[in-house]
């Protein structure tokens, strides 16, 4: 607007009222866009639950997939997903936390550290299906792990590694310098400072990061399809716990598998309407699990924040 000296007071007031009205118009637009977006998503989620409602029940959870929609269930998919998540958590947690501790507490500021940091940032932006291709070439064919639970778990672990690293670094950074300096002052080495003083304070942040990472991994479909998950599996992998010594059995790592999102994808791609109800039910359960995990993560973050008074 050309506010020049020639304007009378009246004109200025008029312009001001106009500009203030624009403000109100924008608030209206912003608020309604927000409401529309959240509203559409809410409607979609409710529709999903409604479409799947007829299939919820114990039979759906405790049955294997079947050619007949009304007999089909998610047993092998749910077990497969649980086992994959187990591998992912066991691999991603120590690896991510160790990498974060190195970058935050140990790493000197030089080009080498810079390269590691750029890599972590970059990996967060790599499309997930590229991780699937990596796993197909590396784990399946070069390492010979086959199309197994182990391969899927490792793939998803690499996928969520940046999430765990970033969350851990943030929570390490939140520990005040004074705590470290007090421990150094008493003669503790760097590892002792980290292990006994810094890490206990950042447990909450680390757990939050791990759960957020797992909630991302649980819904990932593309990389698992790429490494060759099957969608029709009517058996369970060997149980990880056995009755005889040594009570643990690792054969399940090599078992072929299916997973929740794969099962849903398989049902959704069938033209038969009856299977689409199955897809909706599986989707609602998957969605529920993701939201539950996120809720737990938010709760943990809140609890730990409240407990610590620096």
């Amino acid at each position: 607007m050309a506010a020049t000296a020639h304007m009378t007071l009246e004109e200025i007031r008029k312009g001001l009222t106009w500009r203030k009205q624009l403000d109100k118009v924008f608030v209206l637009i912003g608020l309604s866009l927000l409401a529309i977006c959240l509203g559409i998503l809410a409607i979609l989620f409710l529709d999903l639950v409604r479409d799947g409602a007829s299939r919820f029940g114990w039979d759906f959870i405790a049955s294997f997939p079947s050619r007949r929609a009304e007999n089909a269930g998610i047993l092998s998919a749910a077990v497969g997903t649980s086992l994959i998540m187990l591998v992912t958590a066991i691999v991603a947690l120590p690896l991510g936390v160790a990498a974060a501790i190195y970058l935050e507490e140990y790493a000197p500021k030089n080009w080498f550290t810079g390269i590691i940091e750029i890599n972590v940032t970059n990996l967060a932006g790599v499309p997930s299906i590229v991780y699937g291709l990596l796993a197909l070439g590396l784990f399946v064919y070069i390492f010979g792990f086959g199309q197994s639970v182990l391969t899927a778990g490792l793939t998803l672990a690499l996928l969520i590694l940046p999430i765990v690293v970033v969350a851990t670094r943030e929570s390490l950074r939140a520990v005040p310098k004074a705590i470290r300096e007090a421990a150094y002052g008493l003669g503790a080495t760097r590892w002792e400072v980290t292990k006994d003083h810094v890490l206990p304070y950042s447990t909450g942040g680390i757990l939050t990061g791990l759960i957020l990472g797992l909630s991302r991994a649980i819904g990932e479909t593309a990389p698992i399809i790429t490494i060759g998950a099957l969608s029709f599996i009517a058996f369970l992998p060997p149980s990880p716990v056995t009755g005889e010594f040594p009570f643990l059995n690792f054969e399940w790592l090599w078992s072929s598998f299916t997973a929740m999102p794969i099962q849903m994808f398989n049902w959704v791609s069938r033209p038969d309407q009856a299977f689409q109800a199955n897809a909706a039910a599986a989707g609602a359960i998957l969605l529920g699990m993701t939201l539950l995990m996120n809720g737990v993560a938010i709760y943990i973050r809140y609890r730990f924040r409240k407990k610590i008074n620096w």
Partner: protein
């Protein structure tokens, strides 16, 4: 504690030496964990080049990059990547037409206009939406959005890029809004106050001071959105159909790079066939496209970063 033992047996100096030695070992272990990130990047690049090298023994790079027919699964196979690139660009374009304006307006509203309580409630919801599995969004696109669109355009086929693109757009709105909002919030308060003092209204301040000031963050948010849309797999695999066609018309079915990779992975081609190797070549193209956007984003943020 573990360090008490050497203290008694070997004296204080031995203990210190032991502890320092242990520290060095721990540091090496931690460093090797950090190197996994570098290793992963190197492995991705290596695998994509290595596996697609056999593909490029059969197909010339010229044919691959300029061919407009992509039929690796037919007996008279042709390997022109352009149809897949066109599909990817079209779905991404539709998604961005939704996500960038809507995401930006929501971000401006949340950052500059919304009352504190509303913002604190909406932000976690936006982040929560980012965690919804994409296969669920694929279900929405195929079974809810497309039937709705067919009521408006009865000629729309059941598989189309429009529905898929719209859902991807809706899916990345929370990302774009959340990252843009963070960027605008980090513009210092005194810049706003200076603008208000000159008689500007909130909207004028938001559009002429805050948005330019947060440009680097906005660029990062858009780039993040583009990267997501380009790499998005399940929505297009489910809802856009899997027939590669050289078209930019969103109302037609088509395949994207990602959908093609899924299609081949679902089939039973032997590992050493050219058709199978083609997914690595497609993946290479996908990664290069994402890389280009990341580099553009990097330079944008550099060039326009305002020094406060």
């Amino acid at each position: 504690m573990s360090q008490a033992k050497p203290l008694q047996s070997r004296g204080a100096f031995a203990s210190l030496r032991y502890r320092k030695h242990r520290d060095r070992i721990v540091e090496a272990v931690l460093l090797s964990a950090a190197l996994v990130a570098v290793f992963t990047t190197v492995a991705i690049v290596f695998i994509l080049f290595y596996e697609s090298s056999t593909f490029f023994d059969h197909v010339t790079i010229r044919e691959f990059l300029t061919g407009t027919v992509w039929t690796p699964l037919f007996s008279d196979a042709e390997y022109g990547i352009l149809p897949l690139v066109a599909g990817t660009m079209t779905t991404t374009g539709v998604a961005l037409l939704v996500a960038i304006p809507v995401g930006t307006v929501i971000a401006i509203y949340l950052s500059e206009f919304a009352p504190h309580r509303l913002r604190e409630t909406v932000k976690p919801i936006l982040e929560l939406l980012g965690a919804v599995p994409t296969v669920v969004y694929g279900y929405f696109a195929l079974l809810m959005v497309t039937p709705l669109l067919q009521k408006i355009y009865p000629d729309l086929p059941g598989f189309n890029m429009l529905g898929a693109g719209l859902v991807i757009g809706l899916m990345i709105v929370p990302y774009v809004a959340s990252v843009s909002e963070d960027a605008m919030r980090s513009v210092p308060r005194y810049m706003r106050e200076g603008s208000y003092a000159m008689g500007a209204t909130k909207l004028q301040t938001a559009l002429r001071v805050v948005v330019p000031g947060a440009f680097s963050g906005l660029a990062a948010a858009y780039i993040l959105g583009i990267s997501r849309a380009v790499g998005e797999t399940m929505v297009v695999a489910i809802a856009a159909g899997m027939q590669p066609r050289f078209t930019f018309n969103p109302t037609e079915p088509a395949a994207t790079i990602t959908a093609y990779i899924v299609q081949v992975s679902l089939g039973d081609l032997p590992h050493d066939s050219v058709g199978y190797q083609s997914i690595f070549a497609a993946g290479l193209v996908l990664m290069l496209i994402t890389l280009v956007f990341n580099v553009i984003g990097f330079f944008l943020t550099r060039k326009f970063r305002e020094a406060y």
